[in-house]
């Protein structure tokens, strides 16, 4: 009997990286999973591999920035599994420009995926969970929500905003016993990091499984208990001091 048996979880951006790590960690605890990404590529493979462990797993293609597609994602999830206990808003993107060079289109793309996406998915989840009188939303932010890196204004702004959205959804979900929280990971191995190996070596890097382990600990808390914030990073990552 896993710690998440009978729980139905939707994970966005689940085909690789942190999303995939959380999906595997949830699967190991017996959860029923809906894995979401924008493209079929690798998503169905991920679902098939995880299903080999005996879990109920469904892959649903959806763009989290598209209201209709998100509504359809939740509709299909409820049709297949009857409820949603956990939403993990993990899908995210980045762009690297100094602010003076940052095109508006790139600003919008990052804000839409990292901030508007969790609003659209979170709204659907809150609608369901308010009726259920239970549920948990886990937003994957970044330590960039606490302190910026250079050349990342859109990303940093979206993640600061995601903290605000987390607090607002937590406040609005509170009367219906919906727990909303934020994990703030530091450097974590994912495709976004390819080509930055030297930096990772210097700063340290976590595995997606590490984020998955804390996500399981949070998801396995009883109804009514919330880990509002979980800031996690490699011990050696420059973040704690001044810079």
């Amino acid at each position: 009997m896993g710690r998440l048996t009978d729980k139905v979880a939707i994970i966005t951006g689940a085909r690789s990286g942190i999303g995939r790590g959380i999906a595997e960690a949830f699967a190991a605890e017996g959860a029923t999973l809906v894995l979401t990404a924008r493209t079929k590529d690798k998503l169905e493979t991920a679902a098939q591999e995880i299903a080999k462990g005996g879990n109920r797993v469904k892959a649903i293609v959806a763009d989290v920035t598209d209201e209709k597609q998100v509504a359809e994602l939740f509709r299909q999830t409820v049709e297949a599994f009857g409820r949603v206990d956990i939403l993990v808003n993990n899908a995210g993107t980045n762009t690297r420009y100094a602010t003076v060079d940052l095109p508006l289109s790139e600003w919008k793309r990052v804000i839409e995926t990292n901030l508007t996406g969790p609003f659209i998915c979170g709204r659907e989840a809150l609608r369901l969970m308010s009726k259920q009188k239970s549920g948990r939303i886990i937003n994957i932010a970044s330590i960039s929500a606490k302190r910026p890196r250079p050349n990342a204004a859109a990303y940093v702004s979206s993640k600061f905003g995601l903290e605000g959205l987390t607090r607002s959804m937590a406040l609005d979900g509170r009367p219906d016993n919906v727990a909303v929280c934020c994990i703030y990971p530091g450097n974590t191995w994912s495709e976004l990091k390819i080509g930055r190996e030297e930096q990772q070596h210097r700063e340290g890097i976590m595995e997606a499984a590490d984020i998955g382990a804390m996500a399981v600990a949070i998801a396995a808390l009883p109804d009514g208990v919330n880990m509002l914030e979980c800031e996690m990073l490699p011990v050696k990552q420059p973040f704690i001091g001044r810079g």
């Binding site: 995939r20 005996g54 382990a213 600990a217 949070i218 808390l221 208990v225 050696k236």
Partner: protein, 254 residues
């Protein structure tokens, strides 16, 4: 396919690890000590009162099969802290985890707060963590590994009324946590702070109405998260965690 651990690791994931838990004879400290000992860690529990501490150590040893040793110590007194760490090394030879859980509170408005109460609360919640943290860093720097978890409070984020000393101590603790983390970083030492909301300990006896209104967590909820934090690989740290009842008035304005 990716490695997925299907079978539950059957306990003992902390075998060979040595932990100190301050304020370990009751409440959150005892709960954390039990969770660690369940996973095979050797644990030193310390507290000021000998009788209750020895009862806890006996109970936890019997319940878990791990060694849980009682060392009487007032963590606000330098010589006693140093003796407690020396005793731990004599018993177990190393120190992997320190949980700074001991603390106290006093409930008065600032205008009514005796200086002695201020000093007592600052000493037991903040100065004590400097004393134990300093000893732990000295040992862990030699080992090039170790983990310190400071039990903070959501008072470290947002104050309650009638608790100025406690709030000041816990906000100060955040500064100390960050400083210890910064100074331990080069040696691979992880230092973190777990900020808890209302938790059902003896301090909540007789306050059922407030607990019902604000929500309250069980000791095992907090201890379970502390365990997840220490099970992370060396080199990975939960720097800051905030754990509350969903209904806790904390997120909004007040």
């Amino acid at each position: 396919m990716a490695e997925i651990q299907r079978s539950h690791p059957t306990g003992k994931r902390l075998a060979g690890k040595v932990a100190i838990v301050t304020g370990g004879s009751t409440g959150i400290g005892k709960g954390i000590a039990r969770h660690f000992a369940d996973e095979g860690a050797s644990v030193v529990v310390c507290a000021r009162g000998k009788e209750r501490l020895e009862a806890a150590s006996k109970e936890l040893t019997q319940a878990t099969g791990s060694r849980v040793e009682a060392v009487v110590c007032d963590v606000g007194v330098e010589a006693q802290v140093q003796a407690m760490f020396k005793r731990t090394l004599d018993l177990f030879g190393r120190l992997d985890i320190l949980v700074n859980n001991a603390g106290s509170n006093t409930r008065e408005l600032v205008v009514d707060m005796p200086f002695a109460n201020w000093n007592k609360v600052i000493n037991s919640n903040l100065t004590a963590v400097f004393l134990t943290g300093r000893e732990a860093l000295r040992i862990m720097k030699k080992q090039q590994s170790g983990r310190i978890i400071n039990i903070g409070s959501i008072a470290a984020k947002v104050p309650r009324a009638n608790s100025a000393a406690y709030v000041a101590a816990k906000v100060g603790l955040t500064g100390l946590t960050r400083s210890l983390a910064l100074e331990g970083r080069a040696d691979g030492i992880a230092v973190s702070q777990l900020n808890n909301g209302n938790t059902r300990t003896d301090r909540w006896l007789g306050r059922d109405e407030q607990a019902a209104k604000e929500g309250i967590m069980e000791i095992d909820d907090v201890a379970g998260i502390a365990l997840a934090m220490v099970l992370l690989p060396d080199g990975v740290n939960v720097l800051d965690g905030t754990l509350t009842a969903v209904n806790m008035p904390f997120i909004g304005r007040g």
